[in-house]
């Protein structure tokens, strides 16, 4: 079922003809030919001769630096039957990604350099994409005492956080931000006041009232966004909000950025594209860790992306055994596999006129690199050919034949989607071809 990459070996020379090139910050170029040799972009021009290059026709397609994801869960170690690091990587490259931040919420959790090293070793073994471990912020992600952040940073952790578990103690967050400064790593948080959220299973609003489901108010998120901004200011730390969902959070982050606080934020494609109205049939596939909110909140997230308040779009890839979804809504596990469907969902917003294409791509290409403090990516001669070729108009269906995940918990399973990743290159090697 799984097709091996077209060529796992380095191609001597590859010529991508006629694609428009996305440059972060400035958008799409005129159609152009790009030659890649020995993993490096060798030359770019409107018309290049074939020479002895293998040719890929990119007419109508977009060539962009490969995406970086800030928000994915593997289930290795612990629940490899749901997703292991290999299948996660296959999903990633099929979604246009060549680097993925991996949540520490596994069994055992990544709160120790041995787990960090395991993740990096797996990435080296399969060679598909880079796995960027998020080291746990606290021991066993329990929010009680700091994890061994220094050793994990040394082993390759790129950031710290407790996955989707909220940090409840402001004092602990302060110390984590301060401590992480010494290792030059950002701290990722899931903003939620668990007390105010109560037992909420969806956004609190007219839909939760109609459906009789317990609501989680948007304020349960924004009060913690406000608190954490103040804590970040106090600690002079680098703080990243992993998922924000509501208007008030966007406003607070906009204000904090204007005041020079080192804060970044991401949003999921689900929250950009959908609202809580999706839940009207109690379909648990639409249940996420941070609930889908109302239309006004969705509009605010789009505004936040357009004006740069929100830095990145994170996949929120969260594989679950389908049995954990096939239960009463209250009891269903939240989350969805997402890496392969980010592009079509984001392009839906572009097609709806809600998001300029270059901003959508920047939120997948440049934003995540900026959050992590990685060097910027650009397509020009001399740069590494870590690229993805996107067919914005191509349609495909997410199903057993196309999905690379071991799980199939997603609300768009079996749906026709528009926007396909045609090719992904990691340092010149083809790691995915549709």
């Amino acid at each position: 079922m799984l097709r091996p990459p077209l060529s796992a070996v380095e191609l001597p020379s590859l010529l991508i003809r006629g694609a428009q090139v996305h440059t972060p910050g400035s958008g799409l170029s005129e159609p152009c030919d790009v030659r890649i040799e020995r993993g490096i972009i060798a030359e770019m021009a409107p018309q290049l001769p074939d020479l002895d290059s293998e040719v890929v026709f990119g007419t109508g397609a977009i060539l962009a630096p490969a995406f970086v994801d800030l928000l994915a869960c593997a289930r290795e170690p612990g629940d490899e039957h749901e997703e292991d690091l290999q299948s996660l990587s296959e999903c990633a490259v099929a979604g246009g990604y060549t680097a993925v931040v991996v949540s520490p919420l596994t069994e055992p959790s990544n709160d120790d350099h041995a787990v960090t090293e395991l993740i990096i070793r797996r990435a080296r073994e399969h060679g598909l994409c880079e796995l960027l471990p998020q080291g746990a912020l606290t021991h066993r992600c329990e929010g009680k005492s700091l994890a061994t952040m220094g050793e994990m940073a040394e082993a390759g952790a790129v950031c710290f956080g407790d996955g989707d578990r909220p940090v409840q103690s402001a004092r602990l967050l302060r110390h984590a931000l301060e401590y992480a400064r010494g290792f030059n790593r950002p701290v990722f948080v899931q903003p939620l006041d668990v007390d105010l959220a109560g037992q909420g299973v969806m956004h609190e609003g007219p839909w939760s009232t109609r459906l009789g489901l317990r609501g989680c108010p948007a304020a349960a998120e924004s009060v913690i966004v406000a608190r954490d901004i103040a804590v970040a200011q106090l600690a002079h730390g680098r703080l990243h909000f992993a998922r924000i969902t509501c208007r008030r959070s966007v406003e607070l982050i906009r204000q904090a950025k204007a005041q020079g606080v080192a804060v970044t934020a991401a949003v999921t494609p689900w929250h950009l594209r959908y609202t809580d109205a999706q839940l009207q049939d109690y379909a648990s596939q639409w249940k996420f860790v941070s609930p889908l909110r109302g239309e006004d909140d969705r509009q605010a997230l789009l505004e936040g992306l357009r004006d740069g308040t929100i830095d990145a779009i994170g996949s929120d890839h969260m594989p679950e055994n389908i049995g954990d979804k096939e239960v009463e809504f209250d009891l269903a596990s939240p989350g969805s596999i997402s890496l392969q469907t980010v592009l079509p969902l984001v392009l839906d917003c572009v097609r709806a006129g809600e998001l300029p294409l270059y901003i959508a791509l920047d939120a997948l290409v440049a934003g995540p690199r900026r959050v992590l403090g990685l060097p910027g990516a650009e397509i020009r001669p001399g740069r590494t050919a870590t690229l993805t070729l996107l067919g914005p108009r191509q349609t495909w269906t997410l199903d057993g034949a196309t999905s690379r995940s071991k799980s199939h918990n997603t609300p768009v399973w079996g749906h026709e989607l528009q926007g396909q990743v045609l090719l992904t290159l990691l340092r010149g090697r083809v790691v995915h071809q549709a």
């Binding site: 009789g212 489901l213 317990r214 109690y282 049995g323 809504f329």
Partner: protein
């Protein structure tokens, strides 16, 4: 007596002057049209006439099996459904959570599929999780009748309440109905709201604001954080049960204070119209949401509600069976 036993099914006492609604499941009242709602109510009135006979039984659902699947306790609703099924000559079996495998970790879907394999035609489900009846209706082949799901709907309660109101008041268009108490956690309130909105009544809900859920007015009512405005000039006053576990959970301070500000006593009832109906879905907390003299007073129709419950459930089971081709129209 011959008519009551209706051996040939020629004259079961059910009038068929109106077209009967297609009702493959009854999951809620939200999506029922006015026409369908009225047809169910009229059929319920016919069923009530059957219940007034000396031999209270029709042969119409002979050979149909009704399973009551109660994953949340409720003796009286289950009994009401079982009695309704028996009066239509259906076979009944019951499954309750306390004796069930659900407490041993079997999922609802597995339990339902196992029970389905025994061949019931209609499953009457009560569940503490909102949406559980929808969940089953999408996954098993039986007709599903919602007997109350979480804080979502309790459609047969809504129907019996509206039937009771119509018996006393006739057309409900423009009638003022006050629903008072724990609106947030009440499926009874939601089912009544949907049905009353469809029938054109003017619905006011009231209670401490902690128990008024966000956006309730978008369901077609006016909400008040005190009860007086809702009671003024009301034709119907429906009191909801206050669950004692809500007190001390920050929803309100204690039962005494609740009664003082939100309970229905004689004096407060005088704000409503002189012959306003007093209703309660039961079981009542006397002295908390309702004082004993009001509960037992001349305006109370609480026991008629219980009586109407059997008739409404007969009508619903009959229509679901009919819509699924389990029974020819009499």
């Amino acid at each position: 007596m011959m008519e009551a036993t209706g051996q040939t099914g020629q004259n079961s006492g059910i009038s068929l002057a109106r077209p009967l609604p297609q009702l493959r499941h009854l999951l809620g009242l939200q999506d029922l049209s006015r026409q369908d709602l009225l047809a169910i109510l009229d059929l319920s009135a016919d069923m009530k006439a059957v219940n007034a006979r000396r031999i209270k039984k029709l042969p119409t659902l002979r050979g149909v099996t009704v399973l009551t699947l109660f994953v949340e306790n409720s003796t009286r609703t289950r009994m009401s459904f079982e009695l309704a099924a028996k009066r239509l000559s259906a076979d009944t079996m019951s499954f309750t959570a306390s004796t069930s495998a659900l407490s041993k970790g079997e999922t609802l879907l597995d339990t339902a599929r196992n029970l389905e394999a025994m061949g019931p035609d209609i499953v009457v489900i009560r569940h503490s999780c909102s949406g559980a009846p929808q969940f089953l209706a999408q996954r098993i082949g039986c007709g599903i009748v919602n007997a109350g799901d979480g804080a979502h709907e309790h459609p047969t309660q809504g129907l019996l309440d509206v039937l009771t109101m119509r018996e006393k008041l006739g057309d409900l268009a423009g009638k003022k109905v006050a629903i008072i108490g724990d609106i947030r956690h009440s499926r009874v309130a939601r089912s009544n709201l949907f049905a009353l909105a469809t029938l054109g009544a003017e619905v006011h809900v009231a209670g401490p604001a902690t128990l008024l859920p966000t956006g309730i007015e978008q369901l077609g009512c006016i909400a008040h954080p005190r009860v007086e405005a809702a009671l003024e000039g009301a034709d119907v006053v429906m009191m909801l049960r206050i669950q004692r576990e809500r007190q001390g959970n920050d929803f309100f301070p204690n039962a005494h204070e609740y009664h003082r500000f939100f309970g229905l006593d004689q004096e407060r009832l005088r704000l409503a119209k002189p012959h306003a109906l007093v209703m309660h879905p039961g079981p009542m907390n006397r002295g908390v949401e309702i004082s004993p003299e009001v509960a037992d007073g001349p305006q109370s129709v609480i026991l008629q509600q219980v009586e109407n419950g059997v008739a409404v459930r007969m009508a619903v089971l009959y229509l679901v069976a009919l819509s699924r081709g389990l029974q020819q129209a009499a």
